[in-house]
Amino acid sequence: MDDKNDRIRPTEAQLKARRSRNVALALALVAFVVLVYFGSIFKLGPAVFNRPF
């Protein structure tokens, strides 16, 4: 069977929905990283720099 013709082609609606999910997931991940970064700084305060060398 011709592999090229056998592929599933997403419809316009499926592509649009996938893009929307991808953007939302990217934003959620960035937001989570920012929250953990600032959260750690404010939770630990100056102690954030106290670590064994």
Partner: protein, 308 residues
């Protein structure tokens, strides 16, 4: 492409999804979430001690996401019920936009992240209470009580009443009498609120086989119970003043609102109306009541802090 692979793609588990980000957002029940955010925030502000504003914001966000995750788990389990009820049949799972498995994975992931983040950023008492809230709503209420007893929303109401306790614990690191009073206000408010809804949606619940009070004990009994609970709601509303952690002004405001609640419940009890207009009015007023009580507590706490 191997046949087995192709079959897997055409199978439901490997289908190309048309679910948008908005569909996943609606799994979190944003309208319920807004009340959770508000009551949890009030709990945070009222509690003794202080939490850094950034950490307080993260704590509120975690409680909101945790509540949303519980909503997603509820929609995963209740898709069969939601499909036959007019109020819920357009939800993403019964409508086929999101699969049940996706809703389950989404709910579990957000539950784990919200609990862990709250535990790390605030404290583990708050994190533990949030985990218990999600467990209580998803397992005790959704999987067990909802389909088995007309007391479902009475006991299950504890899940909706816990957010201010979680918020209080996030700030103070403890659970105190004041936070239990906040819990009690929402806990006692839940039955009349949902039974008023059930009175004008009886057909829906009956079709879905959910044993709500009106279709098990009958309309007359439900109306009597609504009235009894409305008195308890009014009393619980003035407890903050009675116990000395809110002013007499708050007490007068809460008493007036409580009398309003009893008045609407009384109309449900005595006015015979086929269209269930009194029940709809009580339902509308109950939302306003809870919002106003917590808003009053919030305003008073802020004014007291500014004055101090």
């Amino acid at each position: 492409m191997a046949l087995a692979q192709r079959e897997q793609i055409l199978d439901d588990t490997g289908r190309l999804s048309e679910a948008t980000a908005g569909d996943f957002l609606s799994l979190l029940k944003p309208r319920v979430m807004s009340l959770v955010i508000f009551t949890a925030f009030v709990g945070q502000i009222l509690a003794p001690g202080s939490l850094n504003p950034i950490l307080a914001f993260i704590a509120t966000l975690c409680i909101a996401v945790g509540a949303g995750a519980a909503g997603a788990l509820n929609m995963w389990y209740d898709a069969d019920i939601d499909a036959v009820m007019s109020r819920t049949q357009k939800r993403p799972v019964p409508d086929g936009r999101v699969t049940a498995k996706e809703a389950l994975a989404f709910g579990l992931t957000l539950s784990a992240f919200s609990v862990a983040t709250l535990g790390l950023m605030a404290n583990w008492l708050a994190g533990g209470l949030l985990a218990f809230t999600i467990f209580f709503y998803a397992v005790i209420y959704t999987m067990w009580l909802k389909r088995s007893t007309p007391q479902n929303i009475v006991i299950g109401g504890a899940a909706g009443a816990l957010p201010p306790v979680v918020g209080w614990a996030a700030t103070s690191g403890a659970v105190s009498l004041e936070s239990i009073v906040l819990f009690l206000i929402i806990f006692l408010w839940t039955p009349p609120h949902f039974w008023a809804l059930a009175l004008f949606k009886t057909g829906d619940y009956e079709r879905a086989g959910v044993p709500m009070m009106p279709n098990v004990a009958g309309e007359a009994s439900t109306k009597r119970q609504i009235f009894i609970y409305s008195i308890l709601v009014a009393v619980s509303g003035i407890l903050p003043t009675a116990l000395g952690f809110a002013s007499i002004y708050y007490g007068a405001f809460a008493a007036a609102l409580g009398l309003g609640f009893i008045w609407y419940a009384w109309r449900v009890l005595v006015v015979a109306d086929e269209t269930m207009k009194p029940a709809k009015s009580l339902f509308g007023f109950s939302v306003l009541y809870l919002f106003a009580i917590f808003a009053a507590l919030l305003v008073e706490a802020i004014v007291t802090r500014i004055g101090a």
